[in-house]
Amino acid sequence: MNGPQDVGGMMGFGPIVPEPEAVRFHADWEKRVLAVTLAASATGVWTIDAMRFSRESLPPAMYYGSSYYRIWLEALTNRLIAEGMVTAEEVAAGASREPARSVPRVLRAEAVSPALAAGTRYAREPSAPARFSVNEAVRMRVINPPTHTRLPRYVRGKVGTVERAHGVFVLPDTNAHGLGEDPQWLYTIRFSGTELWGVEADPTLSVSVDAWESYLEPVT
């Protein structure tokens, strides 16, 4: 969706504020949000793409007015309610009132290290050869789905060059909505700054995105 998350090329957010490398968290509640989000996601009720969609579905005023851990908190709460794992009343009360929903798994303390060390691989075995070749020119499709996509607005319709084929990966557009993994070839596509931003752009600039095969069309 063309939601508040899609900020590439926007202006007006003010200065960037660097911070020391030693800073891990800014408040104790940030740690709790991190841990609760990872542990709740480990139940396997939703995919990472579904959770991203929950975050970008927050109202823009809230999204831009919140720190990122606050965004996590809001999205996690919405997702838990949408999945029937908790009710809004339970969230307000901070207490369980209904029986728990069954979930695929629960992450136990002893499994944390192995789970984080393993991660979740999104690569899949190719079932077809890559349609596009390295150094080939491609045009990004013009799509505006109200659902999740990882094709940012600032590259849609633009012509770039295939720089690398990464293999076949789970497609977020379907995976976010329970429509299956639809694994597709994933490419790094490089654009000149002038292609993206016009002739007045920095001539030394190039920008790439990683794009699934269905985001691309041949340049005719």
């Binding site: 504020v17 911070e19 609760v36 991203r52 809230m62 136990r108 030394t204």
Partner: protein, 236 residues
């Protein structure tokens, strides 16, 4: 016709862009959303909500409280940018390792003991005299956790995410980095599960340093491309 960008810069500077207005997302907080309640009060609305949610999820049996502590401990003490600094130091010191890292970053990084969540598909890119690399995730906060830890607040801020792809030199200037005018700038927008990290240029006068000393020169920001490596103490 349109006026030139240089002219525009001056205009913007003298105009009222954000003047006197609170900016959001500095230091990961904001001053006019819900979070303003977090300042000053002993137990803020946000803290109360987080506590209530955690209590609820534990009561429901969805999360194991001991697992929460294990997750926090991992990212507070084990996984951070010193991991990435070791990778860079090895690459600076060992041309074969550098080649491997550029060819298959996931495997080369795993050989040093790092990998897993948010680093399953790694790509290393190298800064040179010809090209400077900068990593961003315009759509959310994708970041190579196994080598860099959790992202800093600025990396997740709309200010950084919006500008990195259209005005990277302006962004770098805010980090105190000024590059030659002819240096190619290459921005990597992390829109998939591939995770990028930057091998900064090895500082001059770092010859003869061992890998531990080299790793000390490698800052987190330099591995995002928002900074450069430190000069060795003797040379600075």
């Amino acid at each position: 016709m349109m006026f030139a960008l240089t002219k525009i810069g001056a205009l913007t500077a003298r105009d009222d862009v954000g003047k006197g207005l609170p900016m959001n997302n500095d230091h990961g907080h904001n001053h006019h959303g819900h979070d303003h309640h977090d300042r000053g009060s002993a137990l803020s609305e946000t803290e109360l909500r987080v506590r209530a949610l955690e209590t609820l999820l534990v009561a429901k049996g969805y999360v194991d409280p001991a697992a929460l502590e294990a997750i926090i401990e991992t990212y507070e003490t084990k996984i951070g940018p010193r991991n990435g600094a070791r990778v860079v130091a090895r690459a600076w010191n060992d041309p074969a390792y550098r080649d491997w890292l550029l060819r298959d970053a996931t495997a080369a990084i795993a050989a040093l003991g790092f990998g897993g969540r948010q680093g399953e598909h790694m790509v290393a890119v190298e800064n040179t005299e010809a090209q400077h690399n900068l990593v961003v995730c315009t759509l959310c906060s994708c970041y190579p956790w196994p080598v860099l830890g959790l992202p800093p607040a600025w990396y997740k801020s709309p200010a950084y995410r919006s500008r990195a792809v259209i005005d990277p030199r302006g962004v770098l200037a805010e980090f105190g980095v000024s590059l030659p005018a002819d240096r190619q700038i290459r921005v990597w927008d992390s829109t998939a599960e591939t995770r990028y990290f930057v091998i900064p240029q090895r500082p001059p006068s770092s010859e003869g340093l061992d890998e531990a000393a080299l790793a000390d020169l490698v800052t987190r920001d330099s591995m995002i491309g928002a900074g450069v490596a430190r000069q060795p103490a003797a040379a600075s």
